[in-house]
């Protein structure tokens, strides 16, 4: 009996902490719900800065629409620089099969479909992946609190892909999200490679409050720790819940 009490006392702190923390899945789901939108129209400025200070700037107009079941469609038109103006991309972000991507090159008057098996591939050769640009399905990850979660103003939750295929698809083995307790918004995400080393950090610098009480990311930066590159994305001219017809996400429209 005495031994039993000692064992219980040893484990008590853990029971105590986990009893106080809300369910990790629940927190992730609330955060996800807060930023999940039907459709969005915005101009996006993407600035990539090399380790040596060299920069590359792209301005695009992006229209996205989310469908039930995790399907997301995105149409991107390049606005700047002038020599790629009009270049357009249509991305169909499928839930259970590889993404489909079409690109239209106005100077060559050609549209090509690009099929890539790598979902973790970079978004417009930035440090953001295509997956970072969409809202991941909750069922793809198992979530749990880290040891110091909840100790300050943040929940710190570790998300691990449910299986190797999902991990390969997203291109990381673990993600640690820092979520503000007061509003359930993610402020920082740390990505770990398959050798469990931190390789990328995304910081969400500001959110844009939407009319329905939800939020959308307005300004974020990704730092690649292995090559020292930094990519920053800023959303301007945000238009929420715009009515976008499905015909907008077609090849015919891409070439318009």
């Amino acid at each position: 009996m005495k031994r039993m009490i000692i064992i219980m006392m040893l484990f008590l702190p853990y029971f105590h902490i986990s009893a106080q923390l809300p369910d990790a899945d629940e927190i992730m789901d609330r955060g996800r719900e807060l930023t999940l939108m039907g459709s969005l129209n915005a101009n996006v400025n993407l600035l990539i800065t090399e380790k040596n200070g060299a920069t590359r700037n792209r301005t695009i107009a992006m229209t996205t629409k989310s469908y039930p079941g995790g399907l997301e469609k995105r149409l991107i038109r390049f606005l700047e620089p002038a020599d790629v103006r009009g270049t357009s991309m249509l991305v169909i972000d499928n839930k259970d099969k590889p993404d489909e991507m079409w690109i239209y090159l106005p100077a060559l008057k050609k549209t090509r479909r690009i099929v890539s098996s790598e979902k973790g591939k970079s978004f417009m050769s930035s440090e953001f992946s295509n997956a970072d640009m969409s809202t991941p399905a909750l069922s793809d990850f198992s979530n749990k609190h880290t040891a110091n979660s909840g100790s300050a103003d943040y929940w710190i939750i570790e998300s691990i892909p449910v299986n190797d295929n999902v991990a390969d698809e997203y291109g990381f083995s673990k993600k640690v999200s820092h979520i503000k307790k007061e509003n359930y918004l993610v402020t920082k995400m740390e990505y770990y490679n398959f050798d469990d080393e931190l390789f990328k950090t995304i910081e969400v610098r500001s959110y844009y409050p939407l009319s329905n009480g939800k939020y959308t990311i307005e300004d974020m930066a990704a730092i690649n720790h292995s090559n020292g590159r930094k990519s920053e994305i800023q959303f301007t001219n945000l238009k929420e819940n715009v009515e976008i017809d499905d015909s907008f996400f077609t090849i015919a429209n891409l070439e318009r």
Binding site: E50, A54, I103, R112
Partner: protein, 724 residues
């Protein structure tokens, strides 16, 4: 090797400029070889090592079978996939065949990550500066060691070459220096007889070598393949002055009568002080010729060796008489050494008679011999390829051979083009440069942005379309293809060819034969093609540094030779107080230089970082012999001997010392033939030739010239000495 070259050298400045933009091109290569590399076990081994290396923070970029993408055009689609999506299992012949075809059809895989004959695969990795190179290589080695398999693994690339050079230099220093000392001890024992006499010059060798080696860390220099020669040189040369003093001491002792030690010392110093100081100064002058060399370690060697010789000279003059004074043994009745007077008499007496009887013939035969042998100079080659420092069976050399034969080569020429890269005029010129250099002999592979543009055009257009595999005609089209490549290809590949702002492009030319002829040829092509390109062109890369290095070896050779010859000539003219004396004294040196280069030309031994030092060292060491002979001859004439008698006496006395000296120098340097570096081995062999010819010049040619022409400076010298 880059550190051998002054940072002000053009190719180094340009290479630094290119590397600032596109990163250091120093790469390591792991080579996997097997009778067929496409087996499940081999591919798993490669994958495990690739994963292991990717974990190392000091490795910034990898190109491996598992990082390479495959971009295919099929049914209107552009398909981007990893080259190896899944490793085909053993027995999956269809899977293996599909992979085989994928590799052959992928310009980013064939001869880059797999050799065309499918017997080798490679992982190429770029090292960043977060850790020291030796630490990174040790980590890579441990990853390799932890993943054994069927495939044989070899390691190549310049960091590994550097590592092996460092290891071999250390090994050489540990093995060769003690060995040279032992050999020297034996030679001194054979020629000087008793151990006490051996100890005298040997102690000078030890002290001067110690002083000289101590200077290296004090000044803050490092032991390099070249400075490694310094202790050997001092072991070989440092005892010279001591030998003259000790043999003179023996000569006096063997006269058979008792002479007080003080008088013996006075006699030795009186007769040898001047020729020794002059010999020492001329040796130092010859060696200081290395200061005009453009190779940094050659200059360092010049300073160190000159300091060592000076120390040896001072210590010989001060210490050896001291040793003679304190030795307890009676001075008369010394036992003859193994190579005693009798042995020398048997050689030198007939030689003296020959010279006296046929001086003209000797001169004519010497001239003919020199002319014939020096004709080989036209065949003299220059070698700057570090890979050839290693013997053919060395693992580094074997890895380099495979890289050169199957993976395009590890040495590169980089061309940076600064301008509006999206301008079709510039892009077409880059394309022309790429295609022209690709088909040049000795070029293994060329990488450039124009290839990426062509690949993209192949993905966008169908083979029957005009624009398929072409450079587009508008700036916008090129910009949009860049964008397409950027989005579908491997960003790291792209960043090696084009900077982020698209204002600088990089054409990387890998050489399968990094010889100076190929480098020169490729460079000429680059200059011709880019002559009127509306952009700024910078040509650099390791191979270009090597070409500059080759040029600097020749320049260094000419300057140091010129400097040493002129200085020695001036010194000899001052010593003999005669222009003709200076000229006569320089003849054996000039002849030896011609013979040395001619011999190198005929035997195919190339002029390289090590062998280029020979001529200065040879002048420094060889001049001793001539000075000693002429001085002794003049002394004998002064003492009233005839020309014939002087020749006989000089050869018998100083001739013996000269031969002993030449033998010690040759045997001292001969340990170099056991070096781990081919180039140092050749140096060892060539010392035998060059010192041998200096010896022949001093005891055959010079006596013959003096006999035949009876130059006035010999007598003038005698008069001057009489006045003193």
């Amino acid at each position: 090797m880059r550190n051998y070259i002054p940072s002000s050298m053009e190719s180094r400045i340009k290479t630094d400029e290119i590397e600032n933009e596109f990163g250091v091109q120093d790469i390591i290569m792991l080579l996997f070889t097997d009778s067929t590399i496409l087996t499940e076990e081999n591919l798993r081994q490669i994958k495990n090592i690739d994963r292991g290396i990717s974990k190392l923070s000091s490795i910034s970029r990898r190109i491996s079978p598992f990082t390479t993408s495959s971009i295919k055009s099929s049914e209107g689609m552009m398909i981007v996939d990893p080259l190896i999506k899944t490793i085909p299992s053993e027995g999956d012949t269809a899977g293996i065949n599909e992979l085989y075809n994928d590799i052959l059809n992928n310009p980013f895989a064939r001869n880059i990550v797999f050799s065309s004959d499918m017997t080798s695969a490679s992982i190429t990795a770029t090292i960043n500066n977060t850790e020291s190179e030796s630490v990174v290589l040790a980590k890579v080695d441990s990853v390799v060691a932890a993943n054994t398999g069927n495939a044989r693994i070899m390691k190549g690339g310049l960091p590994y070459i550097r590592l092996h050079i460092m290891k071999d230099v250390k090994r050489d220093a540990i093995v060769l220096v003690p060995l040279a000392l032992i050999v020297m001890l034996l030679v001194l024992k054979l020629t000087l007889g008793e151990w006490r006499s051996v100890f005298m010059p040997f102690s000078v060798v030890l002290l001067s070598t110690g002083i000289c080696m101590g200077l290296i860390p004090l000044i803050g220099w490092k032991l390099s393949i070249i400075t490694l020669l310094v202790p050997i040189l001092l072991i070989a040369v440092g005892n010279n002055y001591g030998i003259y003093l000790v043999t003179k001491f023996h000569d006096i002792c063997r006269k058979g009568k008792y002479i007080p030690k003080r008088e013996i010392i006075n006699e030795i110093i009186r007769s040898l002080k001047k020729p020794l100081i002059y010999s020492g100064l001329t040796t130092i002058a010859g060696i200081l010729g290395l200061l005009t060399h453009s190779i940094i370690p050659a200059r360092q060697m010049g300073v160190l060796a000159a300091a060592g010789v000076l120390a040896a000279l001072i210590m010989s003059i001060l210490l050896i008489p001291g040793f003679i004074y304190i030795r307890s043994k009676r001075t008369e009745g010394l036992k003859a050494p193994f190579l005693g007077n009798d042995v020398f008499k048997k050689i030198l007496n007939p030689l003296a008679e020959l010279i006296i009887r046929y001086p003209g013939h000797i001169i004519i035969y010497s001239v003919i011999f020199t002319i014939v042998l020096s004709s080989g100079m036209s065949l003299l080659k220059i070698e700057t390829n570090q890979e050839n420092y290693f013997p053919k069976n060395n693992p580094v050399r074997q890895a380099s051979d495979i890289i050169n034969r199957k993976f395009g080569g590890s040495q590169t020429i980089s061309v940076m083009i600064a301008g509006d890269i999206k301008d079709p005029v510039i892009m077409r010129r880059i394309d022309e440069l790429t295609r022209e250099t690709e088909h040049t002999d000795g070029v293994g592979q060329v990488f450039s942005i124009s290839q990426a543009v062509r690949e993209m055009s192949k993905a966008v257009f169908l083979p029957e379309e005009e624009s398929y595999d072409q450079i587009p005609s508008t700036r916008e089209s090129i910009a949009q293809l860049f964008e397409l490549y950027n989005m579908s290809g491997n960003y790291d590949d792209f960043s090696q060819m084009l900077n982020l702002e698209n204002t600088r492009a990089h054409v990387l030319i890998k050489l399968s034969d990094p010889s100076n002829v190929v480098i020169k040829n490729v460079n000429n092509k680059i200059q011709t093609i880019t002559k009127d390109i509306p952009a700024e062109v910078t040509t650099g890369g390791y191979a270009m540094i090597m070409a500059d290095f080759a040029r600097s070896i020749i320049k260094g050779q000419i300057f140091s030779l010129g400097f040493a010859l002129i200085t020695v000539f001036i010194l000899l003219s001052l010593i003999f107080k005669s222009f003709r004396g200076g000229l006569t004294g320089s003849i054996p040196l000039a002849v030896s230089i011609l013979i040395l280069f001619g011999f190198m030309g005929f035997t195919g031994i190339a002029l390289d970082a090590a062998t280029a030092l020979l001529s200065s060292i040879m002048i420094g060491v060889g001049v001793d012999f001539t000075i000693q002979y002429i001085w002794s001859f003049s002394n004998n004439i002064r003492n009233g001997l005839t020309y014939e008698e002087s020749t006989r006496t000089s050869l018998r006395t100083i001739g013996r010392s000269i031969i002993i000296n030449a033998l010690t120098v040759m045997t001292g340097f001969s340990v170099l033939v056991l070096s781990g570096f081919s180039s140092i081995r050749f140096f060892g062999y060539l010392v035998l030739i060059s010192i041998g010819s200096c010896l022949a010049g001093a005891i055959i040619l010079i006596p013959a010239i003096i006999m035949k022409f009876r130059p006035g400076f010999v007598k003038a010298d005698m008069n001057t000495l009489k006045k003193q």
